[in-house]
Amino acid sequence: MKGWHRYLRFFGANVEADVQDEVRFHLEMRIRDYESLGMTRTEAERAAAERFGDRSSVEAQLTRHDASRAKSAGRRQWFDRMRSDARLALRGFRRTPGFFVTAVIILGTGIGASVAMFAVFRTVLVKKLPVRDQDRIVVMWTYRTPGSDYAPDPHLLAPFRRSSRTLSEFAGVAHWGAATSPFTIGDRTFAMKQGMVTANFFDVLGARPLLGSFFHREDEEAAFAPLGVDGSVPRRKIVLAYDAWRKRLGGDSSIVGKHVLDPTTKWTYTIAGVAPPGLAYPSGVDFWLPMRGGWTATTSVFVVGRLAAGATVAGARAEYVTFTELADPAYKITGAHAATFTDTVVGDVRPVLGILTAAVALLLLIACLNVGNLLLFRASGRTREFAVRRALGAQFGDIARQLLVESALLAVAGGSLGLLVATALIRNVGLIAPHNLPRLDEVRLASAPLVPAVGITTLTVLVFGVLPTLLIARGNVASPLRLSARTGQDSRGRRLVRQTLVASQVALALVMLAGAALLARSLGRLQGDDIGFDRQHVLAVSFTPDWARDTTAQLLTQVAQRMQRRLASIPGVIASTPLVVPPMVGTGVWQVRFTKPGQSNDQAASNATTSGDVIGPGYFRTFGIPIARGRTFTYADDRSAPLVMIVNESFARLYWPNQNAIGKQLRMASARETDVVGGNGWRTIVGIARDAHLRVLRESTPIAYLPVGQGFWQGYFALRATESPAALTAMLHAALSDVAPTTQLYDVRSMDDVLAPSLAEPRLGAMLMTSFGVVALLLAAIGLYGVMASLVRDQTREIGIRIALGASVGRVRADVLGRAGIVAGVGAIAGLGGALATSRVLSSLLFQVSPSDPLSLGGACLVLLLVGGLAAYVPARRATRVDPVQALRAE
């Protein structure tokens, strides 16, 4: 190679100076030659210039030319270099596919999970509802104690519509939210959730129908009248919710004008329109019905109002409370719930979503730490490679650039996988999400997460590309070359960094595991015996009574009693009972107010309303609820016998604190004989049942039970049976044709199905948290394994010497495990502290489990240390297999 090749210039050349250099060289050489021919300096200069021609014009021409060439060459060079760096990186990845695949999977999982969660979060919590100015709509209801609504009727509220200063207009929504009832369309019958609203509901919201139209004022009247004055059937209308329209009715665009039939009342409704997607208030509603009687109705309603200009939510609440107190002092309300429409619609899922999102962020952090650790591990294995390259003339920038290209490739691959994972997760979110998560059908990948995905990917590139580079740069170029033949020694400082990273991963994994354990324990309690009744083998059966034939409460209860006797003869049915209130309908419906002896109507008006139910003799056996005192009902408790009732313990405590409730009397002052057998007669308490979480999953409410012979019935039964619902259906049909041929079987569901909606949210929380926890644990284990493996690799010689000097295999192994134990232990202690500090945010989601539950935290610790021990055991074993001769020879 010729000497002058050393002077090859790469880029950054000064084009103009080069051109001048070249021309000056030429002229000086010519001058020198002329001088050697005997010219004077001046003569030589003049002659050379003349011979050269127009120097400045040539220089300008050359400079222009060279500058444009340098520019395009620079660009080409940059691409060439990138390509060669990328090729180099890909070759490196092919050489160590394990590293590449692991890093990409870790990144993909982290990014995918966080993007998907972000999409859900954004759609459910942040996205706009299809209403006008959603944060100016307020939803309010009054209560006596927070959590138990106690709201006035529309006829009381009607004057408030005119006088209100804080609300420009408002609508009423029946207090029971979305109640399930059967509906027949064509030849199909579904259970659909109905919400009842005043006709101006959609106007107040400022929503536009997707199809057809919403309600008009006259629809309220039509809904009220059983038949028109001339005997014609009035046009009763409903509006379908988007979800019900799409999923239950196949999105039929010609549905407007078609009819649905309520098989219980035999009333026909016309479908007036379809609401836009995202509008399903009250939560999960399938269709809306106009309030019967509109503003003269006597149904407790929640207020959905539009705030007047300048009014606040707090102001509206204060005015509403004041108005309700003045309108009817007997309500004795103590306050009101008030929140914007946005908060109301998405309110109850916010804690679980927030916590899951935090979990995803933690997972992403762990993934980042892990990939960072992997890259560090790789970097330390390449110290020598880089040292050699630098010694051969590679610039620091060249190495940094190559590392950046590698990280970028990883990030692009990880980000792409992440997007795939996110797409798959979002496509299947409906399968795992709770039923009551609003607007889930609208979650789309396109709805934003691309931006955070890009952000996360870029961040990953920077962190992982720069960190190892910095650490390499810190290292003395020459030192790795001086170290014998050993490759990839971790420096003490770098190892400390890596061990700290692993300890942090362990700590974060423990926080997630502890959260998962708490939610799982809580779910276990919700699913287990802690709810006060035994759900195993219990079926919920609903019949459609023949309302046309069995017109009175007495006739209906007779059907129920015949049915119960007949069901007792079916093999496989252990116990059965008629009932009025199916489990888990909430506390808004079938609330009864009783009067104690000696109380005036006014005094009784201040008694609490409680859940009421009408049940058969087999009720407590069917649900597995023990009777604490007194007796259960028998078939003898019928119309001709003295009126009796059973209350649960909470009820007894509420009405007669510290007294024996047995023998006490109560009555329903306004009950009529046609509605309830026994009417408003005094009913004596003959039994006290244990509390059970029958109305809502998370708590037991006071309940009063009437015997079916002294109450009423409208179609529900519960069965304890060893048979499956499918097997029982045929037998139930047979039983029906024996005792009530005109009554129809509508639905048979297992108690698990009944509880599923209530359990969906805790199930989702526990499930997602557990899977996050497992992934986090796995990642932490990978990290621990990596650190221990490199430790053993680095100390092969020391271990070899120790074994050669007679150290026992067990001693060597214990030593490696001990070091892993220190890393994992430090992480676990930090994680335990973190878990204790943060688990309090979970408390709103927990059921009968303390946020510092020692079993959950201890269990999480144990699992973590077990998995950590396993991860450390593999390298520890490898350490004991070190052949001293080979280890020393390898040096």
Partner: protein, 114 residues
């Protein structure tokens, strides 16, 4: 009497340069000197025009350049012939000898110049 560079055809200058580089890789002045010596200073090149011609040859890929040290230890830009340049030169040389042969025949044809 030397022939001025203005009379020199563009293509001729390029061939001169390539031929000069066929002998050895050298700097612009080296090329000028080679032409001077070889032609006995008859084809006197306006030396400034060598450089734009060199750039054109470089753009066509017939010549490459790199900085190096001159015989008197000065920094100078060295040019060398590429394989493509060598091929091109061979073709052009063939065309030239045909052309000059034809011209010679023309000049020798009767009636002779006196």
């Amino acid at each position: 009497m030397p022939i001025g560079s203005t009379d020199l055809l563009q293509g001729t200058l390029q061939i001169l340069i390539l031929k000069a580089l066929l002998a050895e890789s050298t700097h612009g002045y080296g090329i000028a000197r080679w032409i001077e010596h070889t032609t006995g200073d008859i084809l006197r090149v306006e030396e400034g025009s060598l450089y734009p011609a060199l750039r054109r040859l470089e753009d066509k890929g017939y010549v490459t350049s790199a900085w190096g040290l001159s015989e008197n230890n000065r920094r100078a830009r060295y040019y060398s012939l590429t394989a493509a340049g060598r091929r091109y030169l061979r073709e052009e040389a063939l065309a030239w000898s045909r052309f000059s042969g034809a011209m010679t025949r023309v000049m020798r044809a009767a009636p002779a110049l006196t």
